[in-house]
């Protein structure tokens, strides 16, 4: 018999299933993985160091670019850390808006995950289906902040502005006929809240559609059931959070256990897996899509009924409105100081965490009393997940590595920072 030696092989950094720039050095025995050594950092931009050189508010935009498929959740953690140190609370309406957009972000993220994960292990249609719904949510982002992805919408003390009364509409073009434009613009004729409500009505049917394609699909199950099993004890010890932890059967969700924003005022359930394999994590995330939809719906109802301020009224922390600034000397000074020096955050340290779609996204903020943070440490959820890749893939086939990478929902913006 021929002698078979294990050999080393490079997976990535330019590989469609590596979800970005992961270089994975695999030691293979035939087709079985013996060792997996992820090399990360190819997207390292030193966000934390950059944040140390800028006034607090100027780094909010950097947070979007960490986990670039769950933008507003990252902002939320950063903004909450500042609010904690300064000792203020955003008004209730802002808390509801944040809750709503956190959940919209969760749907955005899970759709991206579902599409990409499906594509990785052979379900091409998923990608197209998911992007169809994602597009509508991107429009919500655009309506509220002006950009489709990197919103910079949350601010210490609230959110940048109230929800708009109109939605941007499609203009006729040579690629789309009048009939299709009318159909697309029909849902966009009212306010943003009308549009989101319309979406929440459509979305459960869309999730059913995804599930008919995958949940009982024989190939899907063959690729995911009993792949990358993690026991609850190991999951905790490895620092897992979010759907990956819940897929292993640990009932832990910051939205329920350590509620922030308006999560203690809305009704939702936490799905928990049993086996801790890729399939259970898939089921958990799909159920989270439905639960997020439920939360969004409740927030829409509350926001309709309760108008009010969306920002604290504190000129030392929040820039005055433009109209005020034009007419009032003191507001002009505040405006100038706000956008040049910024505000000083009292010396101290705070850790604020949110349940981002991928798990616990935390910001550890250390201030020495200056107008710039002394140290910002982002705690990305994907970081410990990827660190456990070796443990999860050893003994599996090469094709299963792709399934495991997919199920961990890795985004390099946050892992490399």
């Amino acid at each position: 018999m021929a002698e078979i030696r294990s050999y080393t092989m490079n997976f990535g950094p330019q590989h469609p299933a590596a979800h970005g720039v992961l270089r994975l050095v695999l030691e293979m025995d035939g087709e079985v993985v013996q060792k997996a050594d992820p090399h990360v950092g190819l997207l390292h931009r030193a966000t934390e160091k950059l944040a140390e050189s800028k006034p607090y508010n100027q780094s909010i935009g950097y947070m979007d670019r960490l986990d670039y498929v769950s933008m507003m959740c990252n902002e939320h953690a950063y903004v909450r850390a500042i609010e904690k140190l300064v000792g203020i609370e955003a008004p209730l309406r802002a808390q509801y808006i944040r809750t709503m957009f956190d959940e919209i972000t969760r749907i955005l993220n899970h759709l991206m995950w579902l599409g990409a994960h499906g594509l990785d292990i052979g379900a091409m249609t998923m990608f197209l289906y998911c992007f169809r719904e994602r597009e509508d949510l991107m429009d919500c982002y655009e309506a509220v902040s002006g950009t489709r992805m990197h919103a910079t919408y949350y601010r210490p003390g609230g959110v940048y502005r109230d929800l708009p009364d109109t939605m941007p509409k499609y203009a006729p073009s040579r690629f789309r006929g009048r009939k299709e434009i009318d159909r697309l613009n029909d849902a966009r004729s009212g306010s943003l809240l009308d549009f989101i409500e319309d979406f929440t009505k459509r979305f459960p049917a869309a999730v059913d559609e995804y599930e008919t394609l995958l949940t009982d699909n024989r190939i899907w199950k063959q690729r995911t059931v009993n792949i990358g099993v993690v026991t609850p004890e190991r999951a905790l010890n490895l620092g897992f959070t979010g759907p990956v932890l819940r897929g292993s059967g640990v009932e832990w969700d910051l939205r329920k256990k350590q509620p922030y924003a308006a999560y203690d005022r809305v009704d939702f359930d936490i799905p928990v897996g049993v086996n801790g394999d890729c399939y259970d994590r898939y089921l958990v995330r799909v159920e989270e899509l439905r639960q997020s939809n439920r939360i969004v719906k409740q927030c829409v109802d509350w926001l309709r009924a309760n108008p009010g301020p969306v920002m604290v009224d504190d000129r030392k922390l929040v820039a005055p409105r433009r109209e005020e600034m034009k007419g009032d000397m003191e507001s002009l000074i505040h405006h100038f100081k706000h956008f040049t020096e910024g505000y000083c955050v009292p010396a101290g340290e705070a850790y604020a965490a949110v349940e981002a779609p991928k798990g616990e996204f935390g910001i550890y903020l250390l201030s020495d009393g200056a107008n710039k943070p002394y140290r910002v440490k982002c705690r990305p959820p994907g970081f410990p997940h990827l660190a456990a890749l070796e443990e999860m893939t050893c003994g599996h086939m090469l094709a299963d590595v792709v399934a495991v990478i997919g199920t961990l929902d890795i985004v390099f913006g946050e892992i490399d920072r």
């Binding site: 950092g41 160091k49 000792g87 620092g239 009393g369 200056a370 410990p384 660190a387 443990e391």
Partner: protein
């Protein structure tokens, strides 16, 4: 701070004695400083003993305290008419000690690097922050806690990469985030923001070459430290206002 958390803190202080020291917090978070020698024992006890049960290590953050409390608004260099709004020595004496020749030996007694551990107890729904100061000297050293929490593996590698903290007993302490062959520890406060080298493709050599950086460092907004009393807890105390 809630009563339960306060009791928890007292129990922790009683259990670990003088190996830990409580640090006051602004926002009802529990922070302890652990002496570096006892770090591993304390962590193992925090995970295993039934009254603490910190099953998860959520984060490890390296911190370089070199410039702590130091601002870039250097009022001493300003003319007698300019920069009157800059901070003065009376505002924050302990941080001002960093300024002159005696700088870098301030309230931290020359200690520079620390690692900050964030623990989470899923069963008790509690968080705890530990700070361990590295033993002085180069490289700064600490004991590794990888055998207590596996999640420490990459977090410690990251702290080693970015701050040069060497974790004794770590099974695989390699650089994690920086380039292959990178020199220096980029998140240290004395490492320039613009870095030391830049890369470009050299068509003559047919490969990527490293060169010293050509851009000039600049500060758009200086660091300013102003004593900000509006949020000070003593002012929020209703008894103060009568």
């Amino acid at each position: 701070m809630s009563v339960a958390l306060e009791q928890h803190a007292e129990a922790l202080s009683a259990r670990f004695g003088d190996t830990v020291e409580r640090v006051p917090s602004r926002c009802s978070e529990l922070t302890f400083e652990v002496s570096s020698g006892a770090l591993r024992e304390v962590c193992a006890a925090l995970r295993d003993e039934p009254e603490w049960r910190y099953e998860q290590l959520v984060d490890v953050a390296g911190v370089d305290y070199l410039d702590y409390g130091r601002d870039e608004w250097n009022t001493e260099d300003a003319t007698s008419t300019g920069f009157s709004r800059g901070r003065s020595a009376s505002v924050r004496p302990e941080s001002y000690a960093h300024y002159g020749t005696e700088s870098r030996v301030g309230p931290r007694e020359g200690r520079r690097f620390a690692a900050v551990y964030h623990l989470l107890s899923v069963s008790g729904n509690r968080r705890l922050r530990l700070r361990a100061w590295c033993e002085p000297g180069e490289p700064p050293m600490l004991d590794s806690v990888v055998d207590v929490w596996s999640s420490a593996n990459w977090f410690e590698r990251e702290a080693f990469d970015l701050y040069g903290i060497v974790f004794r007993g770590h099974p695989d302490l390699r650089r994690l985030l920086t380039d292959y062959g990178f020199v220096g520890h980029p998140f240290r406060k004395d490492f320039p923001l613009i870095g030391n080298v830049e890369v470009r493709y050299d068509p003559a050599k047919g490969r990527v070459v490293y060169e010293p950086v050509s851009i000039e460092p600049r500060v758009l907004v200086p660091r300013v430290i102003r004593e900000d009393n509006r949020y000070a807890p003593e002012l929020k105390d209703p008894k103060r206002h009568g």
